[in-house]
Amino acid sequence: MLIKLNGADFEAPDGSSVSDLLRIKGVEPAHAVVEYNMVILKIEELDTIRLKMGDVVEVLRFVGGG
């Protein structure tokens, strides 16, 4: 199914969770924060939320900054 991931189209496997998505993209959940349709997810919610078509997912992490 097609979702919007960090501003770009992404074809996520049907039935995948947010956790699955992070695994596919190689992101360690403890080092990232996920915003799902503008709602910030707690780490324990990553497994329970199933992606659906048109979802907007932002995956962020800390980087160097001043």
Binding site: N6, V27, I40, K42, F62, V63, G64, G65, G66
Partner: protein, 271 residues
């Protein structure tokens, strides 16, 4: 007072004692693996980071691995163009589990990267109510600074000159007014390019210096971090020691009596 330990006093932000008055950023390093050495040389307690989308071409990239445990992490809201975006970024940063300190940075102008005090104030108001320790980056305007404090800012962070310019204390006289009038720490953030700029700012009584570019883009960031540490400490010590008065005409440092020629005529004649 005697001995270095007695001379350097702690900085207190939101009731928390902070030993170092040098706050460093973690951006712009050619090689981020030297950040631990830089932090050790700077002996800083607070370090800033930014929040950005994960780069899926390099998904394991993690700045936190370069920041030793025990440091206070100060995420910024860079990228925010208004108060709502700053609040959104602050909420995301808090979920990362690294504390509730936040540097508010709201910028619309891309040429000079000057902060929008009005939108910044709105974000301070919201986030302070939510329990964040809020440090707003701002232009040094007295009325705006007072409003930031009334809204719950734990410190105010006026710029010395625009971000990344290394041009020093172009706003010094306005910053001095904040130091005199604002009861929370005044932290000079942005524009400090040289240790002498940092020392000069500290001599006026500002609480701390926040800088990134001047260390990160120097030829030897570890040595430069040490130089800034010493400059900040020297400036603070000088402020606490009470600066000697300036005058327009000379004041002899050696006694003007007891010359071999007791008449002192050689001085009067200018010889």
């Amino acid at each position: 007072m005697s001995g270095e330990d007695d001379v350097i006093d702690n900085l207190i932000i939101a009731g928390k004692k902070v030993r170092s008055r040098l706050i460093t950023g973690s951006g712009k390093y050619r090689d981020e693996s030297i950040i631990p050495q830089v932090l050790a040389a700077a002996e800083c307690d607070i370090i800033t980071v930014a929040l950005r989308r994960v780069d899926f071409d390099n998904p394991s990239e993690n700045i936190l691995k370069n920041i030793p445990k025990g440091k206070i992490l100060l995420p910024n809201t860079s990228g925010a163009r208004n108060a709502d975006e700053a609040v959104r970024i602050a909420h995301l940063a808090r979920v990362m589990g690294c504390g509730d300190w936040i540097k508010i940075e709201v910028i619309n102008d891309q040429r000079y990267l000057l902060p929008d005090n009005q939108e910044t104030l709105k974000a301070v108001d919201i986030l302070a109510r939510e329990g964040f320790v809020v440090l707003p980056y701002m232009t040094p305007d007295l009325y705006a600074a007072r409003r930031m404090v009334d809204a719950g800012a734990a410190a105010v962070m006026p710029l010395g000159s625009p971000i990344g310019t290394n041009r020093g204390l172009k706003t010094l006289e306005l910053i001095e007014i904040l130091v005199n009038e604002i009861k929370v720490p005044v932290i000079v953030d942005a524009g400090i390019g040289r240790p002498s700029h940092a020392a000069m700012a500290m001599e006026t009584g500002v609480g701390a210096i926040l800088l990134n570019t001047a260390i990160a883009t120097s030829e030897d960031p570890v040595a430069m971090a040490r130089a800034f540490k010493l400059a900040v400490e020297a400036g603070r010590m000088a402020y606490l020691a009470g600066m000697a008065a300036q005058s327009r005409t000379a004041r002899a440092s050696s006694p003007l009596t007891g010359f071999l020629d007791e008449s002192g005529n050689h001085l009067k004649s200018g010889v």
